[in-house]
Symmetry: C2
Subunit: 344 residues, 2 copies
């Protein structure tokens, strides 16, 4: 196990979770620098997490620091340029989702790391949530037989705009912000999708993008799934920040509810289980399931750097999820069923 | 309130509910004859419900009896010929769903009653279930504002084949058998649909039709809904025979769960309610919600005959639901989004 030197770019809202998680993993890596175009944010993060150096300029940081990897935790429009700058210096990157604002940038980013021969991973953390890991394990063990149908739901009334006001201004909103997680989880349980039908809606007045989207996926091999993506719902109870999902298999069904509750039924009976996250010393409810998944995601990245394995959410893997995002927007715009670019 | 003389054609599985419900409505109508091609079934029904006459031949019954209406409770392939025979005698009909095996027959049936200038109604009873009536009332009162999204789910592992073994043999199975109810309820809450994307699956080995179907509807005015239709699921708890659904409105959300439970949330808070059916003396759990709806459906038919009003589930109304069934099958077969014939 190599001890690694790393930097975090972007010290905003969600980055605090990254920094806390790197701190938990301090036996395996040290954050030696942070960078943010907002000097106050960079300095605050450095102080809070005991990081020796803070920067407002990435090139300066890359020139000054010897880094084993960089964690890019900025908003999507900046990812490509930042990743290219790292690649030019031979530095592997872990990049927050969404990988880029669009398909062209996303592919260019992955290609840049490929050309440099460097590993990369997308910080797609939903897969690493404790109940999802456990559900995946159960499915893999054959608990419900071959999975043929799924419903993946993230419908909430949580005020996402309070912490991330820029989300009211983006033209691609709910699918790109959280739908990308939901679509990724659909891929984990259902396999690749070859057809995408999507409808988007703007329910909240005054925002620029869609805050409600419904996606019908046709999977290779015949499976079907539905992804429900909404920041404009008022379910009771509101499962936020949990994603809930249901799977039908040839030999049973499984449901993951809020609170990490899993129930599955097969010929042997009905089984209940709670797949709670590991304790998060810096966490607070209801966020610990997310915070634990951030740490698990980052641990996986370190594991892959150690072993040389390709990350589960590598750039190439994530392009397949990103292709579903693009196909969903294309379907909503055209009113047609769209074949994702990743399938051809 | 006129007292009416009526006959029931078809004395099988579900017809027992019709006969019991007519019995509850005996102040308003009398069943004076029953008819079934299986003499034993016709005679058993006559004995059980104190019906004076039983027939195995419809023409003979129509020639002998003076009838104010006929209740057609046979399987779909026989509906058209039976309805035409009634229409030829000037007798109004209430017809079980599905109205016909296909769109051509369904339109022909409605046209036959139109030509004869006779009222007709489809025995589409889901709409008349107590929790659905109450939810419709709440929505109409503005409890959640304009409805923009819905999920209508009928996923069960109930052994439907035990009571209706012919369902294993039909090529159009789940959508035509129960999906038609689900699509009808979607119309009630969301309005007409102008686009239909559907995927069907055959999960249970050895059956001829689809036992799993998922429909994404685009509604006039921009609403979206998903219909989940499955006899191949194993949810825990299994809501059968309840349909469960969720609605998102511009001012709140509402969910109807198994057990007639309704919860809705809006600016005024969260509200819980149980919309239980009226007592059904001849009923038994978990069927009373369905049995009560059968009686409510039949009561509505008598109300319409009394007032001259067009039934909520008239032939013309039901053709709009039937068009969604056809569009769903067409979409599943073509892999394309289909515009229902009823919209043009």
């Amino acid at each position: 196990m190599t001890h690694r030197r790393a930097a975090v770019i972007g010290c905003g809202f969600f980055s605090q979770n990254h920094l806390n998680a790197w701190n938990d993993l301090s036996e395996r890596c040290s954050i030696v620098a942070v960078c943010d175009i907002d000097r106050a944010k960079a300095e605050a993060a450095a102080r809070r997490f005991g990081v020796p150096k803070s920067y407002t300029n990435v090139d300066e940081m890359l020139a000054n620091e010897s880094l084993d990897f960089v964690d890019i935790a900025t908003t999507a429009p900046s990812h490509l340029a930042l990743a290219e700058a790292c690649a030019a210096k031979g530095v592997p990157v872990i990049v927050q989702k969404p990988l880029a604002p669009d398909w062209t940038d996303a592919r260019a980013l992955v290609a840049a790391l490929d050309r440099a021969g460097l590993p990369m991973m997308v910080h797609e953390n939903f897969r690493f949530q404790a109940p999802l890991l456990r559900a995946a394990e159960l499915v893999k063990s054959g608990a419900i037989g071959k999975v043929v149908w799924g419903r993946f739901s993230f419908r909430t009334g949580y005020d996402i705009y309070a912490g991330q006001p820029y989300l009211a201004e983006v033209e691609r909103f709910a699918i790109l912000d959280v739908g990308i997680h939901v679509l990724d989880v659909a891929r984990v349980f259902m396999g690749e999708a070859e057809s995408v039908a999507c409808r988007t809606q703007q329910v909240r007045p005054g925002i620029k993008g869609e805050d409600h989207a419904t996606v019908l996926l046709g999977h290779v091999g015949g499976g079907t799934s539905v992804c429900e993506i909404s920041y404009a719902s008022h379910p009771e109870p509101d499962p936020f920040p949990f994603m809930i999902f249901e799977l039908d298999g040839e030999a049973g069904s499984l449901r993951v509810d809020a609170g990490c509750k899993i129930v599955w039924k097969n010929a042997s009976g009905t089984h209940h289980e709670t797949a709670a996250p590991e304790a998060v010393a810096w966490g607070s409810e209801p966020w610990t399931v997310v915070q634990d998944s951030v740490r698990a995601t980052q641990r996986h990245w370190l594991d892959c750097l150690d072993s040389g394995a390709v990350a589960a959410t590598s750039g190439h893997d994530n392009l397949k999820t990103f292709a579903l995002v693009e196909a969903a927007y294309a379907s909503a715009a055209s009113g047609q069923i769209v074949r994702p670019a990743s399938i051809d």
